[in-house]
């Protein structure tokens, strides 16, 4: 059964950072590289975060491979922006799993020892440094979850896919993805509670906290 990428109004179809991905996708299909650039700038950060959870330090390479393939195939893509987003994550995931098999390992430190250097500061070096540390810590916490839970948490609560779309990316049933995400969040809560019990202090996390998605 071939899944279809029909029109929908779910989270996957929502603009990313206010960018209208539908127009960007249409432009890319028509051969306009500005459309590709817009898609890349909008979706690559999400792809990278997801890949850091799945494949650790190889995330950048895998993301590059993913986009190179997408660039070659995008003219043939039929479907809407939501479908493209799902397709892109699926390509990324498959490439990541290939990479893991090649390297004979599961994810490691999701950022490596020197990756913090890549997080360039801008206007508020101190504030950005704190925020980046919080993000790194958050991703490390998620990466420390069992793999299926980590991926479900990332796709559902960080990237923002609904259960059905996350399930298509992961090749699972939506119910299984919901369960994995829920367990992942519980696991995460347990980890945080244990850290609190041990008096572990971390950088303050971003104040613009949204609710925890189910």
């Amino acid at each position: 059964m071939i899944p279809r990428c029909g029109r929908n109004t779910s989270q996957a179809a929502m603009p990313v950072n206010g960018v209208d991905l539908e127009h960007a996708l249409d432009a890319a299909r028509d051969g306009d590289e500005a459309g590709v650039a817009l898609l890349w700038r909008s979706l690559n950060p999400l792809i990278l975060r997801y890949l850091h959870i799945v494949v650790g330090q190889a995330a950048e390479d895998v993301a590059s491979e993913t986009w190179l393939l997408a660039a070659r195939e995008i003219r043939q893509f039929r479907g809407d922006a939501a479908g493209f987003r799902i397709w892109l994550f699926r390509v990324a995931r498959h490439r990541a799993l290939d990479e893991l098999r090649r390297a004979g390992r599961r994810r490691e430190d999701p950022f490596g020892l020197t990756a913090e250097q890549d997080w360039a500061a801008r206007d508020d070096p101190a504030g950005e440094a704190m925020e980046q540390m919080a993000t790194i810590r958050a991703l490390r916490l998620i990466a420390a979850l069992p793999p299926d839970q980590a991926e479900a948490v990332m796709l559902r609560t960080v990237i923002g896919f609904d259960a059905a779309h996350a399930a298509r990316i992961l090749g699972k049933r939506p119910g299984a993805v919901r369960v994995a995400a829920m367990r992942g969040l519980r696991h995460l809560a347990g980890t945080l509670e244990a850290e609190r019990g041990m008096g572990v202090k971390h950088a303050a996390v971003a104040p613009r906290v949204a609710g925890v998605a189910e």
Binding site: I2, P3, C5, E33, V36, A37, W40, N44, P45, L48, R49, E60, A63, S64, E65, T66, W67, L68, L69, A70, A71, R72, E73, I74, R75, Q76, F77, R78, G79, G83, W87, R90, V91, H94, R95, L97, D98, R101, W119, E128, E131, T135, R137, A138, L139, L141, I142, V153, R168, G171, K172, L188, A189, L192, E193, A206, R208, V209, A210, V212
Partner: protein, 232 residues
């Protein structure tokens, strides 16, 4: 426990924080690949399997050379769909048996390789077939494809196949090309009326989830979109 929930929410918010700086050099490479694909330079399937984008072109060259060295190479070259350098080589070596040059316009390829100059005199000689590369004829060819998705090749003669493949920039793209051409309101063409439903019968470029976690050797790609496409 509410405090822990809040912490979890904070962790998730931190994970979402848009602080990742992107390497624009990657974007530059992506755009190069995109433009190359648009010009047909990347006509080979963009499969990132074991070679994973590292060196697809050398592999394609070797494959083309092997194909040329075998009988099927002649057939493929006859269609004029090999990469330009290889097609030129094939033309130089095998031009006598009708292998077209790579830079011939589609019209010439579509009209076959009979090396006949269209007779313009009123000698009553059979006039050449209309060029297969007009929008109308391509539409007709695409209708044939749409009506015979499983074995459209068998329903087109060699010159029509070549014209269609050239217009689509590669055989794997024929189905998609025809889908676009037959789509109501398709731009730049004047498609003939299409049989109802034919436009949607062609494969779509959606992801194909036929393999799961344990079978990720092939990236899901638009070209894997349906069994129909795979068989074409």
């Amino acid at each position: 426990m509410r405090g822990t929930d809040l912490e979890v929410a904070e962790v998730l918010a931190a994970a979402r924080a848009p602080t990742y700086d992107q390497d624009e050099r990657v974007l530059a490479r992506v755009l190069v690949a995109f433009n190359a694909a648009g010009t047909g330079l990347a006509a080979a399937p963009a499969r990132l399997g074991r070679h994973s984008g590292r060196s697809v072109r050398p592999a394609a060259k070797v494959a083309a050379a092997v194909a040329l060295a075998t009988g099927c190479g002649v057939a493929v070259a006859g269609l004029g769909v090999l990469p330009t350098p290889v097609q030129r080589l094939a033309h130089d070596v095998l031009g006598g048996v009708g292998i077209p040059a790579p830079d011939k316009p589609d019209v010439e390829r579509g009209a076959g390789t009979a090396a006949s100059t269209p007779t313009s005199g009123g000698s009553g000689v059979v006039s050449p077939r209309p060029s297969a590369t007009t929008a109308h004829d391509l539409t007709t060819l695409c209708e044939t494809v749409a009506n015979n998705l499983g074995d459209w090749r068998g329903h087109l003669d060699a010159s029509d196949r070549a014209a269609l493949i050239a217009a689509a920039h590669g055989e794997p793209k024929v189905a998609h090309y025809c889908t676009r051409l037959l789509r109501p309101g398709a731009a730049k063409t004047t498609p003939a009326p299409t049989p109802s439903g034919t436009a949607t019968a062609s494969p779509s470029a959606q992801p194909n989830a036929t393999h799961g976690v344990g079978h990720a050797t092939h990236s899901p790609g638009p070209n894997q979109r349906s069994s129909n496409a795979a068989k074409q």
